[in-house]
C-alpha cells in the first residue's frame, strides 16, 4: 500500500500538494467562513499571486539540474516593484503597455546574467545567485531607503479585479500559459533532460549551456511578473518586503514535488506548493498565531517537504 502511494506520487508529484491544498482550504473555511465569500475571492487571489509567482519563477533553475538554484528571485521581484513605482510611475513609461515589456526585459536581463554565470562561467549556482541576491538587495535598499507609497494605478486591478475577473488570474495565469506554450516545443523536454543528467543530454546533442541560460532567463521574466503583482498588492515601493518571499519560493518548489536535483517537475506543482503555504499562513493568521510562529511553520513545511520529496524520488534509484 505504502509502495503504491509512493509510486503514484513519483508519477504525479503534485498530487500530494493538491490534496494538502484541499485539506487546508477546508480548514480555512471552517476557521473563517467568509474565506470563500464571493467578494473575498479576488483580494485573496491577489495576496496569493506573489507567493505563487515566486514559487514558479524559482522552479526552472532547480529543473535545470547541476545544483541549480536561483536565490535572487525574491530580491529581483523587489527590484521590479521598486523600479515600477519610483522610476516608471508618473512618467510616460508608467502605462502598462510600455512598463510591462520593459520590466519583463529587466527580469530577463538579470536572469540571463545568472544563467551566464552558472552555465558559461561555471560558477556554483548557489554562489552566483547569492552574489546577485546581495547586489540586488543592496540596489533595492539604495533606491528606496524608506518605503514610498504608490498612488492609485493600473496594478491595483491586478491585485483586485478587472470587471468580474480577478486580476490575479492574469498574473498567475501568465507564467502557466508561458509554460504550457513551451511544453508544446522541444524546450521543456530538453530542460528536463539536461536536469536529469547534463553529460548525457550533451552527448545527445542538446546545447546544455543554452538550455541552462534560458532557464534562468525565463525564471527572471516570471519574477518580473511577480514584481508587478506585488506592486498591486502592497501599493508601495519597499526594499524589505521581498524578505517575506525568500523561503516561500524554495518551500513552494519543494512542497510541490519538483525534484530539487533537477529533471522532474514543472510550474503547476510549484503553484500548488505555493497555494499550500499561502493557505497554511492564512489559517495560522486567522487562528491568531504570531508572525514568529508562522516563520517556524514555514521552516517546518520546507523541512518536511524536502524529506518527503527525497522519499519519492530516491526510491527509484538504488542507494549507492
Amino acid at each position: 500500500m505504502r509502495e503504491r502511494i509512493l509510486g503514484l506520487l513519483a508519477q504525479r508529484p503534485a498530487a500530494f500538494a493538491v490534496v494538502l491544498a484541499l485539506v487546508l482550504l477546508i480548514a480555512n473555511v471552517i476557521a473563517q467562513p467568509d474565506f470563500i465569500a464571493p467578494n473575498q475571492i479576488a483580494p485573496t487571489l491577489g495576496t496569493l499571486a506573489p507567493f505563487a509567482i515566486v514559487g514558479m519563477a524559482s522552479t526552472l533553475a532547480f529543473l535545470s539540474g547541476g545544483g541549480g538554484i536561483d536565490l535572487s528571485i525574491a530580491p529581483l521581484m523587489g527590484l521590479v516593484n521598486i523600479v515600477l513605482v519610483t522610476v516608471f510611475f508618473g512618467t510616460a513609461l508608467g502605462g502598462p503597455l510600455l512598463a510591462i515589456p520593459l520590466l519583463l526585459a529587466l527580469g530577463a536581463v538579470v536572469g540571463a546574467i545568472n544563467g551566464v554565470m552558472v552555465a558559461r562561467l561555471r560558477f556554483p549556482p548557489v554562489i552566483a545567485t547569492l552574489g546577485t541576491f546581495f547586489v540586488l538587495a543592496g540596489l533595492d535598499l539604495r533606491l528606496v531607503p524608506n518605503p514610498v507609497t504608490a498612488g492609485p494605478n493600473w496594478t491595483n486591478h491586478l491585485a483586485g479585479s478587472i470587471g468580474p475577473v480577478p486580476g490575479a488570474l492574469l498574473t498567475i495565469g501568465a507564467p502557466l500559459l508561458l509554460w504550457l506554450a513551451l511544453r508544446r516545443t522541444p524546450y521543456v523536454q530538453s530542460l528536463l533532460a539536461v536536469g536529469d543528467h547534463d553529460a548525457t543530454a550533451f552527448s545527445a546533442g542538446i546545447n546544455v549551456n543554452a538550455v541552462r541560460i534560458s532557464a534562468y532567463t525565463i525564471g527572471g521574466v516570471i519574477a518580473a511578473i511577480g514584481g508587478i503583482a506585488l506592486t498591486g498588492l502592497v501599493r508601495s515601493a519597499d526594499a524589505q518586503v521581498f524578505n517575506n518571499y525568500i523561503l516561500v519560493a524554495l518551500a513552494a518548489v519543494a512542497l510541490g514535488g519538483t525534484n530539487l536535483f533537477g529533471g522532474r517537475g514543472g510550474l503547476f506543482p510549484s503553484l500548488m506548493g505555493a497555494t499550500c503555504i499561502f493557505l497554511l499562513e492564512n489559517l495560522l493568521t486567522s487562528l491568531h498565531a504570531s508572525a514568529y510562529f508562522i516563520q517556524v511553520a514555514y521552516g517546518g513545511a520546507l523541512f518536511v517537504a524536502v524529506l518527503f520529496g527525497s522519499r519519492i524520488f530516491n526510491r527509484e534509484v538504488a542507494p549507492a
Partner: protein, 323 residues
C-alpha cells in the same frame, strides 16, 4: 616563471589572498586617518575574529561537500537566549551548557537528515535556520531581552583587552588557538583525513571504512557550535542581545571560506585560507566604512567581490569534460 607554473602556485598556495591582505592593509593605513593605532588594528582583528570563528564550522562543512545556511540563525539565537536566560537568573555556565547542547541538537539534525535522506543541505539548513529564528524571536517576543552576560565577557572581546597583562584582545588569542587546533585536526589527525576523504568522494570513503554519516553529523555539529560561540561572544561585545545580529554572517561566513579559496565542491582548502578570507572581508568593510559607504553600497560591493573571487577559484568542470 611560466604562466602555467604561476597558475599552479596560485592554486596550491593562498598567495593572492596574502597579497590582498597586505594591499588592503596598506590601503587602509594610507587612506584612513588613525588606522595605524594599536586600538584600531585590534578592532579590525576582533571583528575578523567573530567572522573567522563563525566561518570555522562553515569551512568544515564545505570541506565535506555541504553548506550551512543556519549559521546566522544560530548566532542570533545564541545571542538572544544567552542574554535572556542570564536575565532570568541562570548562571552563565548553565546558560553556556544549555546553548551548546541545543546547538549540538540542531547541528545533528542538519547532518543526519542531509546524509540519511540525500536532501540538499542548502534547503535543510535554511529550513532549520528559519525554525530556530522563529522560535527564539517568538520566545523573546521579538528580541526583547533584558539580561546581561557577565562583564568579563565584554572585556574578552574588547579591542583594549589584555591577556595576562599583555595588550592583546583575548578573542584574538582564542581565534589563533582555534586556527591552530583546526589545522592540526585537519592535517595531522585521522579525523582530518576522514573529512577530506568524505569530501573528495563519499562513496569511496564509505568503502574505505569511513563512517561518512558520523563525519557529516560531526561537521554540522561543529558548525552549529561555532556559530553559537560567536552569538555568545557578540552578546559580550555589544553588551546586550539584539535580533538580527547574525544576519550579516549568512553571506560573510560563506564569503570568507570562498574568498580564501576553499572550493564548494569539497575536499579542497583548509582553515588558514578562511582566516585570510575573514581578514580580507573585514579590511574591505573597514575601508568601505572608513570612506563613508552606507550599508547598501557595502552589500553591493561585497556581492560583486565574491563573484570576482569565485571566478578565479572553485568553478565547476565543463559539461563536455564530464561526458
Amino acid at each position: 616563471m611560466t604562466r602555467a607554473s604561476l597558475e599552479r602556485l596560485v592554486r596550491t598556495a593562498p598567495i593572492l589572498q596574502v597579497a590582498a591582505v597586505i594591499a588592503l592593509g596598506i590601503a587602509a593605513a594610507v587612506t584612513i586617518d588613525g588606522f595605524l593605532t594599536l586600538t584600531s588594528i585590534y578592532t579590525t582583528l576582533v571583528l575578523a575574529a567573530f567572522l573567522g570563528i563563525a566561518a570555522a564550522g562553515q569551512t568544515t562543512v564545505i570541506l565535506i561537500g555541504g553548506i550551512d545556511l543556519s549559521v546566522p540563525a544560530l548566532i542570533t539565537g545564541a545571542n538572544l537566549v544567552s542574554t535572556s536566560l542570564t536575565g532570568k537568573g541562570w548562571s552563565f555556565l548553565s546558560v553556556c551548557l544549555f546553548l551548546l547542547a541545543s546547538a549540538a541538537v540542531v547541528g545533528a539534525i542538519n547532518g543526519y537528515t542531509t546524509h540519511r535522506f540525500r536532501v540538499p543541505p542548502l534547503i535543510v539548513t535554511l529550513a532549520t535556520g528559519a525554525i530556530v529564528t522563529g522560535a527564539t524571536l517568538g520566545w523573546t517576543k521579538g528580541g526583547q531581552v533584558s539580561g546581561h552576560v557577565p562583564s568579563w565577557m565584554g572585556t574578552f572581546s574588547s579591542p583594549i583587552g589584555t591577556v595576562f597583562g599583555v595588550r592583546l584582545p583575548p578573542i584574538v588569542l582564542l581565534w589563533a588557538i582555534l586556527a591552530l587546533a583546526i589545522s592540526i585536526v585537519l592535517h595531522l589527525s585521522v579525523a582530518g583525513r576522514r573529512i577530506y576523504a568524505t569530501g573528495a568522494n563519499e562513496h569511496a570513503a564509505e568503502l574505505a571504512g569511513v563512517k561518512t554519516e558520523r563525519v557529516w553529523i560531526g561537521a554540522f555539529v561543529f558548525s552549529a557550535i561555532s556559530a553559537t560561540v560567536v552569538g555568545v561572544l557578540l552578546a559580550g561585545f555589544t553588551g546586550t542581545g539584539q535580533a538580527g545580529i547574525g544576519d550579516q554572517y549568512l553571506f560573510t561566513s560563506l564569503a570568507a571560506v570562498l574568498i580564501g579559496g576553499t572550493s564548494l565542491v569539497g575536499a579542497r582548502g583548509d582553515y588558514w585560507r578562511t582566516v585570510l578570507g575573514a581578514l580580507i572581508l573585514t579590511l574591505i568593510t573597514t575601508l568601505l566604512v572608513g570612506h563613508g559607504a552606507d550599508e547598501s553600497t557595502q552589500e553591493m560591493i561585497i556581492g560583486a567581490l565574491i563573484l570576482a573571487f569565485v571566478g578565479l577559484y572553485g568553478r565547476d568542470q565543463r559539461v563536455r569534460d564530464r561526458v
